[in-house]
């Protein structure tokens, strides 16, 4: 690790000590002109014991941040970057709820199947679609075990400037890459009133998420597929 990066870490640790607003996790912002670093592996821990069934604050925050606001005639065609899932254990009757989105796999099947190279993984582990070369074949949608990707079926005019998206391309959760590059957590994590979504650098042993992962039992959804998901769940 280079010296300036160490300095940045130290600075952020100091800021963290002064207690930032609750629920806001600071991460090292990418500096002007610097690329995403492979020393970082972004991930998220969802504490399902805190997530309440009726709440969709994360879904709303995602829609506002990423401009997923176009009116859709057929709801089945709407873009879904994050959705709420309610689970019931039929044997015990225990109910819980969780947000499901792109799991930002270490070995993403959507990247394997993409014929053009549009589906790709950034150095810091964020899985994205390069819409400049996506041909809309939707192979990646079929390949994703988490149903995380959506296809845009209609022309759009209401994109947010930092989140270009459009007709004929596949899209999914980006961990709000426009925010993470500025050192902010994704909009969903910031919006959760329960603080159930913890975002950060899995590779940094001092990060809140790495510390929590070391302490509590967490699960990868469909761990049997050995995809190395960046998103983990607690309490499922």
């Amino acid at each position: 690790m280079s010296a300036p990066e160490n300095k940045r870490r130290a600075f952020l640790a100091a800021v963290g000590a002064v207690a930032v607003a609750p629920g806001i996790s600071l991460i090292a912002p990418s500096q002007a002109g610097t690329a995403a670093s492979s020393a970082v592996r972004f991930g998220m821990l969802v504490d399902t014991t805190k997530c309440s069934p009726g709440c969709d604050a994360c879904v709303k925050a995602c829609a506002a941040e990423n401009g997923l606001v176009e009116p859709i005639a057929d709801l089945r065609q709407g873009s879904q970057w994050i959705r709420k899932i309610d689970l019931v254990d039929t044997a015990t009757g225990r109910q819980h709820s969780l947000p499901m989105m792109c799991q930002h796999c270490a070995k993403p099947p959507c990247v394997d199947v993409c014929p053009t190279g549009a589906s790709f993984k950034r150095a810091d582990g964020i899985v994205l679609v390069d819409r400049h070369i996506c041909i809309g074949c939707r192979y990646c949608m079929m390949a994703c075990p988490y149903k995380a990707r959506s296809f845009v079926h209609q022309p759009l005019t209401t994109q947010n400037p930092e989140v270009p998206r459009g007709l004929g391309c596949v899209e999914a959760c980006t961990f709000c890459v426009q925010r993470t590059d500025r050192g902010l957590a994704p909009a969903c994590a910031d919006a959760c009133p329960q603080g159930a979504m913890l975002f950060g650098d899995l590779n940094d042993p001092q990060s809140a998420i790495a510390k929590r992962l070391k302490e509590v039992a967490t699960t990868q959804v469909r761990a049997d597929l050995k995809l190395g998901t960046g998103v983990r769940y607690q309490g499922i």
Binding site: A64, P71, A123
Partner: protein
């Protein structure tokens, strides 16, 4: 005879084009902020803006490089028309003026927001049936 006909035909075909070539007005590109300095001289931008933008789009998207000198949103903020707030929409708008003249299709705005300072109104998206 055939040769004469061909010659005549090509003359007839060429004629209207030659007449028009002189008449089609060059696009009047309106510079909204003439006091500011573009990232490169106008002559260079005219010829190479597409290469510059393509190079940077790959660096930004695929490498995660932010804060570069060249940015499409930077272009929009400076060049959006003061009338409709956009770089497209009519022959007076910065991008469309030349692209209409040169008959080169603009794909950028299928995905990128052409309006300066735009913020999508936070209409709550129904989370769908596809739970």
């Amino acid at each position: 005879m055939a040769r004469v006909l061909t010659l005549l035909a090509s003359l007839v075909l060429a004629l209207p084009f030659q007449v028009h070539a002189g008449e089609v007005a060059k696009p009047a590109v309106k510079i909204e902020n003439p006091d500011t300095q573009c990232v490169a001289p106008a002559e260079e931008m005219r010829r190479n803006h597409m290469e510059v933008l393509q190079h940077q789009r790959n660096r930004t998207l695929r490498l995660g490089e932010r804060g570069a000198k060249v940015s499409l949103n930077g272009c929009i903020e400076c060049h959006a028309s003061k009338t409709n707030g956009s770089v497209i929409g009519g022959k007076d708008n910065f991008c469309e003026a030349c692209h209409a003249y040169a008959a080169v299709k603009l794909d950028c705005w299928d995905c990128h927001q052409p309006k300066a300072g735009y913020k999508a109104a936070a209409v709550a998206q129904p989370s769908g049936e596809n739970k």
